[in-house]
C-alpha cells in the first residue's frame, strides 16, 4: 500500500496546460486522466471549468470514466468580491463539474489583495471563508491554494498567515502554500513554512512550486522533509513560464532516495512510459535531459564513461534505469572511441566485425557526421550504415530516379488556393525496373506514396510499417533556406520502433534518405 505520509497531487491538466505551446483537447485530457490514474496519483486537478468551455466539457465527459485510484478536483478562485457563492458563475461552474474535490485558489498576499485584486483585506478573508464553507457544506474535499503565499509572507507575514487560518477555520482539508512567482530560495521557503507550522496546527499542508529559480523539485523535497503532506506538480515540469515542479522527478526521488512509497514498484516502473505518453498528447518533444525519464537520462557518450559501464553499469548511473522503466544507451559520436562503436554493434547483434572493419566504420561515421548526419538518435540508420559496409550485402531495392512536381495557385473566381503535389519514382528491385507515380498532400507524402506503390506488391509486410514522427533540423541557419537540413523519421511496425536520419541541403532529398533507410531497415532486420 502506498504511504499516507506524502500525497501526490497532479495539476498537469490545469496549471501544466498554461505552458506556451500546450493545447490539450477534451479527448487528450480524458486520456491523460486515465493514464495518471493508472500511474497511481491520488488527486488529479482536471481543469478550470469557469475559464473555458473545453474544461466544462471535460468534467461532463469524466462522469462516464471509471478511475481506479485517483480522485479528480475542479479548480477555481474564491468567490468574487461583494457577491455570494450562489451568484458567482465561476463557483457555480465548479459545482456543475460534480467532482469529489475542489481546489480553491485565493490570494494570500496583502499586496495582491489591495493592488491586483483591488479589494479590502477583510473582504478577501470573507471570500476565503465563504467559499471554503460553501464547498464543505456540499460535502467536498476542499484544498485551499494560498496563491502568492510566500511572496506575501515576506511583504506582510501576519496577513498571509491570517488567510491560512481563515481557510483552516472554514474547514479546508489542506492548506497548499504556493510559490506562484517561483522565485523562493530554499532558505526563504523553509523559514515561511516554519512560521506556518507554528501558527496553524491540525490542518494538513501542501506545497505548490514554480521553477523560475530552477529550485522547484529541490524545494518540494525540502518541504516534504519539513513535514508537508501534499506535493503538487506537473508531469514533465509543464507549466507557465519556467514550469511547475516536475511531479515525476519528485515521485522518483521520494521513492528511490527518501524511501517514501508514494508509488508502488510496478507503478514507478511505468514512469518513463507516462512521461512519453503525456508528451505525445501534449505534442511537446520530451526534453531528453529530463531526470529519470528522458531519452538521454542514462545515455553515455564520453569514451571513458563507456569504458566504465562496460565493466559495471552502475559506474556512471545513480539508479538502475529499469526501476523507472528507462534504459541505458551508448552514443556514437566523434568524441567517442572504438569502445562506444563496439558496444553499439553489440546492441545491434553485429559484433563480429574485425578490428580493421571497425576502424573503417569509425572513419565512415566521422565523415558522415561532417556532412550533417548524426547517429546518436538514429540507431536504425547506423545499423544500415554497418550492414551496407559488410561484404555481400544486397539492398532489397535501389532508387534510380524521382521527380517531384508541386504547384500552388490562386483559383480563378473565389480567390482560394489550389495545391498539387505529385511524385514519379523509378526503382530497381531484383534487377527489375518499376516506374510509377503517386499524388500526395505534400511532396514527401507523394514520394512516400509512390515508393510504397512500387514496393508493396513484392513486400506486403511494409503495409504494417508506419511513420510516427518526422523532425527537421536546420544545421547551418546562417544559410537560411539554402542551409543543410537533417531529417529524423521515427517508424514502427506495431511492435518495434526505429529512427532513421537523412541530411542534405534539400529537405526532400534529406526526407528521401531517411525514408529509404526506414523502409530498408524494415526489410532487412527481423521483427
Amino acid at each position: 500500500m502506498p504511504t499516507d505520509q506524502v500525497q501526490l497531487y497532479d495539476t498537469t491538466l490545469r496549471d501544466g496546460s498554461q505552458m506556451e505551446g500546450i493545447s490539450l483537447s477534451v479527448e487528450d485530457k480524458i486520456r491523460i486522466t486515465k493514464k495518471l490514474d493508472e500511474l497511481g496519483f491520488e488527486w488529479i486537478e482536471g481543469g478550470f471549468p469557469g475559464s473555458n468551455p473545453k474544461d466544462a466539457e471535460y468534467f461532463r465527459r469524466l462522469r462516464e470514466v471509471k478511475l481506479r485510484h485517483a480522485k479528480v478536483s475542479a479548480f477555481g478562485g474564491t468567490r468574487k468580491p461583494n457577491t455570494t457563492c450562489e451568484a458567482d458563475a465561476n463557483i457555480q461552474s465548479m459545482v456543475a463539474a460534480d467532482t469529489p474535490g475542489v481546489t480553491l485558489v485565493g490570494k494570500a498576499s496583502l499586496y495582491q489583495v489591495t493592488d491586483i485584486l483591488e479589494t479590502t483585506p477583510e473582504e478577501n478573508l470573507a471570500m476565503i471563508a465563504d467559499t471554503v464553507r460553501y464547498f464543505k457544506q456540499l460535502g467536498k474535499t476542499v484544498f485551499f491554494d494560498a496563491e502568492h503565499f510566500f511572496d506575501g509572507f515576506y511583504g506582510d507575514p501576519d496577513y498571509s498567515l491570517q488567510c491560512l487560518v481563515t481557510a483552516a477555520r472554514a474547514g479546508a482539508d489542506a492548506l497548499v502554500l504556493c510559490d506562484t512567482n517561483g522565485g523562493m530560495t530554499t532558505r526563504s521557503m523553509l523559514r515561511a513554512l516554519e512560521a506556518v507550522q507554528q501558527r496553524v496546527k491540525d490542518v494538513r499542508l501542501g506545497i505548490h512550486l514554480h521553477n523560475d529559480a530552477g529550485l522547484a523539485v529541490a524545494n518540494s523535497l525540502h518541504a516534504v522533509e519539513a513535514g508537508v503532506w501534499q506535493v503538487q506538480g506537473c508531469v514533465n515540469g509543464y507549466g507557465e513560464r519556467c514550469g511547475n515542479a516536475d511531479i515525476l522527478t519528485i515521485a522518483a526521488n521520494l521513492k528511490l532516495k527518501y524511501g517514501i512509497d508514494v508509488l508502488e514498484d510496478e507503478q514507478l516502473a511505468r514512469l518513463t512510459e507516462v512521461a512519453n505518453y503525456v508528451a505525445e498528447l501534449a505534442n511537446m518533444a520530451l526534453n531528453p535531459q529530463t531526470p529519470y525519464v528522458g531519452a538521454a537520462a542514462f545515455a553515455h557518450k564520453a569514451g571513458y564513461h563507456v569504458a566504465g559501464i562496460i565493466k559495471d553499469e552502475k559506474a556512471y548511473q545513480h539508479v538502475d534505469p529499469a526501476l523507472v522503466g528507462n534504459r541505458s544507451r551508448v552514443l556514437v559520436s566523434e568524441l567517442s572511441g572504438q569502445r562506444n562503436l563496439v558496444m553499439k554493434l553489440k546492441e545491434a547483434g553485429l559484433d563480429f566485425l574485425s578490428q580493421d572493419e571497425i576502424k573503417r566504420l569509425l572513419e565512415l561515421v566521422k565523415e558522415r557526421e561532417a556532412q550533417g548526419y548524426q547517429y546518436e538518435g538514429a540507431e536504425a540508420s547506423f545499423e544500415m550504415l554497418v550492414r551496407r559496409s559488410l561484404p555481400g550485402y544486397r539492398p532489397p531495392f535501389e532508387l534510380e530516379d524521382f521527380v517531384i512536381v508541386e504547384r500552388r495557385r490562386v483559383r480563378k473566381g473565389d480567390g482560394g488556393n489550389e495545391m498539387l503535389a505529385e511524385a514519379m519514382v523509378k526503382l530497381t528491385i531484383n534487377g527489375e525496373t518499376i516506374h510509377t507515380a503517386h499524388e500526395g498532400n505534400g511532396p514527401v507524402n507523394a514520394l512516400d506514396g509512390a515508393v510504397r506503390k512500387a514496393l508493396n506488391p513484392l513486400f506486403p509486410q511494409l503495409e504494417q510499417v508506419k511513420l510516427v514522427d518526422y523532425k527537421v533540423r536546420i544545421l547551418d541557419s546562417q544559410s537560411a533556406t539554402g542551409a543543410r537540413v537533417r531529417v529524423l523519421i521515427e517508424s514502427t511496425d506495431g511492435t518495434r520502433h526505429w529512427t532513421t536520419v537523412g541530411s542534405s541541403t534539400d529537405i526532400i532529398e534529406a526526407s528521401w534518405l531517411a525514408l529509404a533507410d526506414a523502409l530498408e531497415y524494415a526489410l532487412t532486420t527481423e521483427g
Copy 2:
C-alpha cells in the same frame, strides 16, 4: 569588482559537449570562449586535449586569442597506473595545451579504483600525488576534480577523504567534489561536505554536480551556503545524461537572490544573450522554460495572470526580466481572453481596434489555431493577421502561382547522384504581373530565390532581410508523411528579429506561407 567569495568555473566546452546532440567545431569553441570571457567567468575549461585532435587544435588556436577576464584550463586524468607523468601521452597533451591551469580528474572512490580503474588503492593515491605535483612544478594552477567523491564517500568514507588529502598535500589549488553520477540528495551532499571540511583545512573547495535527480542547481547553491568557493557548471545545463548544473541559473540566483556579486550588473544583463548565443553555436534549441533566460521564462498565458500583470508587471514575475536581459511576453491562445489580445496589440502598436474588431480577431485566431497555426511564438505573423484584417490594407505583393520541380537521379557511370530543384513564380505587384524562375539547392531555397528575384528590383530593402532559423513541427504524427506541419521562420534585417508561421499538410506550402509573412512584414512595418 566581482567578489572573491565564489568563483564561477565553466565546463561547457568540455563536460557540456558530452551531451547527446552537441558537436562543437574548433571555431565554435573559440567563439564560445570569447563570449564566456565577456560574460565574466573566471575560469573556462577548454577541453580534453588527450581525448581528441579537435581539442588539441583548439588549444593551439587559443594562443592567438586575447581574453580579458577568464583563464582557460585543460582537462585530463591523473597519470595512468604504473607509469610516469613524463611517459603518459595524455599528461603530455595537457602540457602541450600550454594553459595557465589544468583540471585533473582522479578517482576518489574505492569501488571505482578497484573495480573500474582496476588498480590498487595505493597506486591511485600515488597517481594523484605525482600528477598534481608534476603540474605544480610547471607553475600551473591545479584544480583536482575528485571524481565519484560523493558516491565513494558513502562506500568507504576514509578512502575518499584520503584522496582529497593526498591532492591537497601535493599542492592542489582547489579540491573539487564531484557528484559524477548526479544522484545525491541535498542532505547526503551536505553531510559529506561537512566531513571534508573537518578533515581538509586551508585548501579551497569546489563543487561539480550533475542533474540526474533534478537537484544540481539547488545543491550547488547549498554548497555555496556551506562555504564552497568554486562552482562548476555548464551554460544551459548541457552535459552528459541529464546535464551538469546550469551555471547561468546559478549565477543569476547568486547575484539576485543571495546578493553575491559573481557578475557585475552589466554582465548579468547579458545572460539571456549568452544563453542564446551558446545554444545557437551548439545547434540546440534553447529550452523555453529555462529559468531566467528562456523565451518563456517571463511569458504569461493564463487570462487572470495577464489581468494581473496589466496592473503591475511584478504581480507574476519573481525578478525584473531586464536584469538578466530577458523580457516579458503575453501569449495569445485559446486559454487566454481578450485581455491577452489587447496587450498583444499594444505591444505591436495596434491598440486602436474597436471592441467588435477585437472580438472578430479573437475568433480568427482560434480558427487559425484549429488549423495548426500557433501565434505564441510567431508575433510577426500575428501582426500580419491583424494588419490584413484592417480596412484599407493593401498587400505589397500577391502570389498568383508557383510551380516547383525537383529531380533526383543516379548519374550514369559513377553511380553518384544528381539533384535539381527549380521554382517558377508569378506575383502581382501594384497591378503588374511578374513571372520569373530560379534554381536552388532545395525546393524552399529555389522558391525563396524566385520570389526575391521578383521583388528585389522594386524593394531593394529586402536584400538586408535574411532568414536565420527555420523549424518544422509535425502536428499529427499518426498521419506520418501526410501529417499537417507547422513551419516557423525567424528573420532579421540586421537590427530587428521576427518570427512567422505557416501551416499546411504540405511542407512547401507551409514554408511559403511563413516566408510570405516574413517578407510582407519586412515591407509593411518600420525598422
